[in-house]
């Protein structure tokens, strides 16, 4: 794997020869703390984990585990549908928040709140809102219709949708902020010229905004997908993977195996995700390390 190979190169390989200037010696000394952390807490765990997951029987066990297949599908739904919806909303809202109005400025300050507060209390708050017996949602349904509301989190489709909703709630502000910076970087005279030419709202978006933002937008989408793979909280704290382990995603599944003391299965499930993750990571590194 890439990490294990390149880990060796990370060592300050040239010997401490007299050719090294004092500045270079200091360079190595100052780089050493990070290298130590990297070796001890990235290289070693990753190698150890891969070694644990080496037996093919793990992958057979995973293949035969319906929960794994379900988690893989859920993860795909989360990434492909969830992230794209989120980024489209962020793109739309970035246009809204870029408007020069006092009340919109204030709203944007409030809008950041989900990003600024920790996710645990707010996710638990949402979870309780949808509690079938005591939650405020079913109370409202009861008082308006006289019927008992549904047992929201007991339906895997609804529960997964809500986990995606919670994820969007939490991270939408961040991506909107980034897309706002992208929008504000577009030269305003382009829009003024388009205005003079009588361009419609859609034409302005299609021929000015989108061409200048598409690279940023696609980068953001890919980055968000990589990070969302690691979003443990949205699913775990809302549904706990339930009902009947039907709403797991890969990140919660790995932890589930870990808690069942099946560490090699946990690692194997992560290794299975690597063919999808590594190309994305490679692409992002190409983009960011210019």
């Amino acid at each position: 794997m890439a990490i294990t190979l390149s880990g060796d190169h990370a060592l300050p390989s040239p010997p401490l020869s007299p050719r090294l200037t004092p500045a270079q010696v200091w360079g190595i000394v100052l780089l050493a703390p990070y290298l130590l952390v990297f070796l001890a807490f990235v290289v070693y765990p990753v190698c150890y984990g891969l070694w644990l997951a080496r037996a093919p029987s793990n992958y057979v066990a995973l293949y035969n585990d319906p929960i794994f297949a379900r988690a893989a599908v859920n993860t795909l739904i989360f990434l492909v549908i969830g992230i794209n919806i989120k980024m489209l909303i962020a793109l739309f809202l970035s246009g809204f928040f870029a408007m020069q109005r006092t009340w919109i400025k204030w709203l944007s300050v409030i809008f950041i709140l989900p990003w600024a507060v920790p996710s645990i209390p707010t996710i638990l708050s949402v979870r309780f809102m949808f509690n079938p017996e005591w939650g405020v949602i079913n109370h409202l349904i009861f008082s308006f219709t006289g019927d008992d509301g549904p047992n929201w989190l007991n339906d895997p489709t609804v529960a997964l949708t809500m986990a995606i909703g919670v994820h969007i709630w939490k991270s939408l502000p961040f991506w909107t902020l980034i897309l706002i910076t992208g929008r504000l970087a577009i030269a305003q005279d382009l829009f003024e010229a388009a205005e003079v030419d009588g361009a419609s709202w859609w034409q302005k978006f299609r021929f000015i905004t989108w061409p200048s933002m598409q690279t940023l937008y696609i980068t953001c989408t890919l980055l968000s997908m990589i990070w969302t793979l690691g979003d443990f909280n949205s699913v775990y704290l809302l549904t706990g993977g339930g009902p009947a382990d039907l709403t797991h995603v890969l990140s919660t599944l790995g932890i589930r195996y870990l808690r069942l003391d099946q560490l090699s299965l946990a690692m194997a499930s992560i290794v299975c995700a690597m063919p999808f993750v590594l190309p994305l990571v490679y692409f992002m590194m190409k983009r960011l390390s210019r």
Binding site: G7, G27, Y34, S119, S125, W134, V136, S251, T252, L280
Partner: protein, 288 residues
Amino acid sequence: MKLPGVSEFSWRDVATEARLLLIGIPVFLWTMIPIYHMFLFAISPKEDAFSGKLWPDHPTLHNFEIVFKQQHYFLRDFYAQFWNSTLIAAAVGALTLFIATAAAFSISRLKVPGGRMVLNLALFTYFIPAAFLAVPMYRTMGNYGLLNNHWALILAMVTIASPYAIWVLKQASDKLPVELDEAAVMDGATTLQIFRLVYLPLMMPSLVAIGTYAVLLAWNEYLYAFLLLSNDREITLPVALGNFLAADDSPWELLMTTGFIYALPPAAVYYAFRRYMVGGLTAGAVKS
């Protein structure tokens, strides 16, 4: 044509404003409902909290009193846990700053051989989803004998925070003119003096941003905290909040109150440093 400064009533403007409100109001509700719901629970007595009212009949601070006096089974160790969270966040902030600043200085200013490679490795780590690294990290900490020790969480969070910190600080370092270092060398400054007297003062804004980033990351972390710490007196606040769920008859009003208290410091820090965070971090996160 409308002249600037002359306000003129027009139906067109009203329609535009109405359309904007049609976006603004749902955005406001969507953002605020979960937070308001949490706040509502925090100020409601137990009976009101579970009655589905939108405002309690008798708003009270009694829940806060229970939390601060640790008068509930789930809250026995509230202060210890709050202290753990604070201590770990502070340690992660300080260690990350130290490691990342040294590395960024070394890579960007001293041009250490192999620096480019280290930067790429750090970036690579940054893109590994944290929940994936958590699995082998848990076992590794066990091998190191650090489980249930605060150092386990501190070191894990430093590992996660430093790649991005190094990357942002390296970008910021590159912007400082080389002439500064050269001039200092001319004056006979040693490398350490350049680091301390030239580099650090100029990097202050980025250091504030990165320190805040690392502190918030550690304070907010749930997954690693709950994997690596388990003893009731050693865990951090988010783990304690998660533990409320273990019981069937969880005191949700107390859970929400504790959650509210837990959410206040990061929100305050975020808004206090918003200028740095929004400018420094988001622009750095995605270079277009």
